[in-house]
């Protein structure tokens, strides 16, 4: 009896999905994480069309953690890999993915290797990728993909839109891009690259009118405009990777705090050690911090963290891709809360 009821629930959810019909178009896809009563999160929809491909491995339970507290934590963490046939985006491709996280669910989105953008014959033919994520209150998304790697002579534009309700919901999403195939001497030899991350919130006011408000827009535009007379490679000041990490919500508040504190603890630029003060004995944590800062220096990682409008926004760049990858992984691992709540797999792309 119970099983039948569950099946009906399941069917209904799939059926009423607002994204159901979109999956019939090329490049369209849809992911819905629903909560089966009482508290079982399920991947109720996962559909995709060429050239997009989605793979959902079996959900894993998060490692032992403090689940005894009152917030009902989801039992299993669902993971979906976002892939494209051929491992990249060919000129003219258009990908449109809709994701929905129902209240009380969480999702880890991953990629398998960098998203390669292949050469276009015509600079005006822009390949596109769009992802719209509806994040319900009390749900959490971790999206730590591999970087986008636009090859020389490419034109690509992507947009990630996160829709929240009443400013609730938790996000930890990263967007980063590299200079191309550096082994082949490519160094930002692209025609055009755009990436836009937007977070919107909707709320219903006293009169029952729905209002939508922009909470965050992080838009990177690399093209020939700007009247600088400086080639793109020089405009990037010798950095091979640029990234933004957007963190928000109660689930990630320890991580937010960690980034802000570590930024605060960075040594002052232009400061000097005159050698007249005795260095205090470092605690293990301080020692790890000092080691990480040393690695940042060697890898040429520069970063900043800002706490704005309820977000913590982290910007980073480094001389080589691996520098940023290692730095990001070290930071998230050292803080530990993502590993505890989502498992090791959430950091797969940072390995």
């Amino acid at each position: 009896m119970n099983i039948i009821k569950l099946k009906i629930e399941f069917f209904n959810m799939t059926f009423t999905s607002p994204f159901a019909q979109s999956a019939s178009k090329p490049g369209h896809g849809s992911i819905v994480v629903a909560l089966l009563p009482p508290d079982t999160p399920v991947l109720s929809t996962i559909s995709y069309q060429y050239p997009l491909k989605l793979i959902a491995p079996d959900p894993l339970p998060p490692p032992e953690s403090d689940f005894k507290d009152k917030t009902p934590a989801p039992r299993l963490v669902h993971t979906v890999f976002l892939l494209t046939y051929g491992g990249g985006i060919v000129a003219g491709d258009s990908i449109d993915l809709a994701v929905r996280l129902d209240a009380g669910t969480s999702l880890v989105l991953l990629t398998q290797g960098s998203t390669k953008i292949f050469k276009t014959i015509d600079p005006s033919l822009v390949s596109r990728q769009q992802m719209t994520v509806a994040v319900a209150p009390n749900s959490a998304l971790v999206y730590l993909p591999d970087p986008v790697q636009p090859f020389a002579q490419t034109a690509f534009s992507q947009s990630q839109i996160y829709n929240l309700e009443n400013e609730e919901g938790s996000l930890c999403v990263c967007d980063w891009v590299t200079s191309g195939r550096s082994a082949r001497g490519e160094n930002w030899d692209i025609y055009e690259y755009r990436s836009r991350n937007q977070v919107w919130t909707s709320s219903t006011d006293a009169n029952g009118v729905q209002k939508r408000r922009l909470m965050l827009r992080d838009n990177m535009i690399l093209d020939k405009n700007g009247q600088t007379g400086i080639p793109l490679s020089d405009r990037m000041d010798g950095y091979a990777v640029f990234g933004t990490l957007i963190i928000r919500g109660p689930v990630f508040s320890p991580l937010s705090k960690y980034f802000v504190d570590e930024f605060e603890a960075l040594p002052r630029i232009g400061g000097r050690n005159w050698g007249d003060s005795v260095l205090p004995e470092l605690t293990p944590k301080e020692q790890r911090r000092a080691d990480r800062q040393q690695r940042e220096k060697i890898d040429g990682v520069v970063w900043s963290a800002a706490s704005v409008r309820g977000f913590v926004l982290v910007k980073f760049a480094s001389r080589e891709v691996e520098g940023s990858r290692n730095w990001l992984r070290d930071m998230i691992k050292e803080e530990g809360s993502i590993l505890n709540s989502f498992g090791e797999r959430a950091l797969l792309c940072l390995k």
Partner: protein
């Protein structure tokens, strides 16, 4: 009678000759006397407002901000330390103008064209400024502009009928509506915790109300930024004041600003964004400088 006739004739000839000479003399004189007759000035009111806004004594406090120059210089220490920082400064100026044009200019244009949207524009600009240091600088100057408007310009512009000028774009919205929009915005600013008063959209609204043509408003917005950065360079000992004026007067800067206004003329605010990603890092890391003379 014959003598009278011939006298008459010679007098007439003399008059004709004198008249011809007078005309000749006048025609020779006329090109150089054009300046004496006052040419009609198309738009005195706009010129006056433009001069007010371009005055470096306009109390916006812009002198306190280097827009990332100080941090940039700290990240690009010359080798050897005695080497000139001027070439490095030129690159920064270009990148800084490009960034301002790609991030803020669309909001200036939108604020001018649709002053009634000021609250949304202010919110969206705030949402699009990811870095606390840049945010602080933009809000400080925006609030200062609003204060100057409230305390100094408002009485003049709220009472006098708006002078019409030839620009279609300024005629679309009436100045009086703009005055009311600014008043209600400045009232709302005191109570709402969502509003910030960023410079770019307010600059658009204020220049609209002041009847400055849109193109001039956009040009001045970029020019003022260039002037602020160049002035910061003088105070950061990158160059001397004469060299700084030379940069400011340069044809290269003129061409660049004109080009940026043309490029950005039809960019929607949704498409405003960072064209020099490393700028966010330089500006954001300003807080990490060991010593600072500027607020940004």
């Amino acid at each position: 009678m014959g003598t009278t006739d011939s006298d008459q004739q010679s007098l007439e000839d003399e008059i004709a000759d004198l008249e011809k000479r007078l005309q000749d003399a006048k025609s020779r004189l006329s090109p150089s006397t054009a300046g004496e007759t006052l040419p009609p000035h198309a738009n005195d009111a706009a010129l006056h407002a433009l001069l007010l806004l371009s005055d470096s004594a306009l109390p916006l406090g812009s002198f306190a901000f280097s827009s990332g120059l100080e941090s940039y210089l700290a990240h690009h220490r010359p080798l050897p330390p005695s080497a000139s920082q001027v070439p490095s400064f030129y690159a920064f100026l270009r990148l800084s103008l490009s960034t301002l044009a790609s991030t803020a200019l669309p909001y200036v244009l939108a604020g001018y064209r649709n002053p009634e949207d000021i609250e949304t524009l202010d919110n969206d600009f705030d949402a699009s400024t990811p870095c606390t240091v840049a945010r602080r600088a933009s809000i400080a100057q925006g609030r200062a502009l609003l204060t100057v408007w409230d305390r100094s310009f408002k009485t003049q512009y709220a009472s006098s009928p708006r002078t019409t000028n030839g620009h279609a774009e300024t005629l679309e919205t009436t100045g009086i509506a703009g005055v009311e929009i600014l008043s209600s915005f400045s009232t709302a600013l005191r109570t709402s915790n969502h509003l910030n008063a960023h410079l770019a959209p307010l600059w658009g609204v204020v220049t609209n109300v002041l009847s400055v043509p849109l193109r001039d408003s956009a040009y001045l917005f970029l020019f003022s930024h260039a002037r602020t950065v160049i002035s910061a360079a003088v105070r950061a000992s990158v160059m001397g004041p004469y060299q700084a004026q030379g940069v400011l007067a340069g044809a290269e800067l003129q061409k660049r600003i004109r080009g940026l206004v043309e490029e950005g003329w039809n960019v929607r605010v949704e498409d405003a964004g960072q064209s020099v990603p490393v700028m966010d890092l330089w500006v954001g890391r300003h807080e990490k400088l060991y010593s600072r003379i500027f607020n940004s």
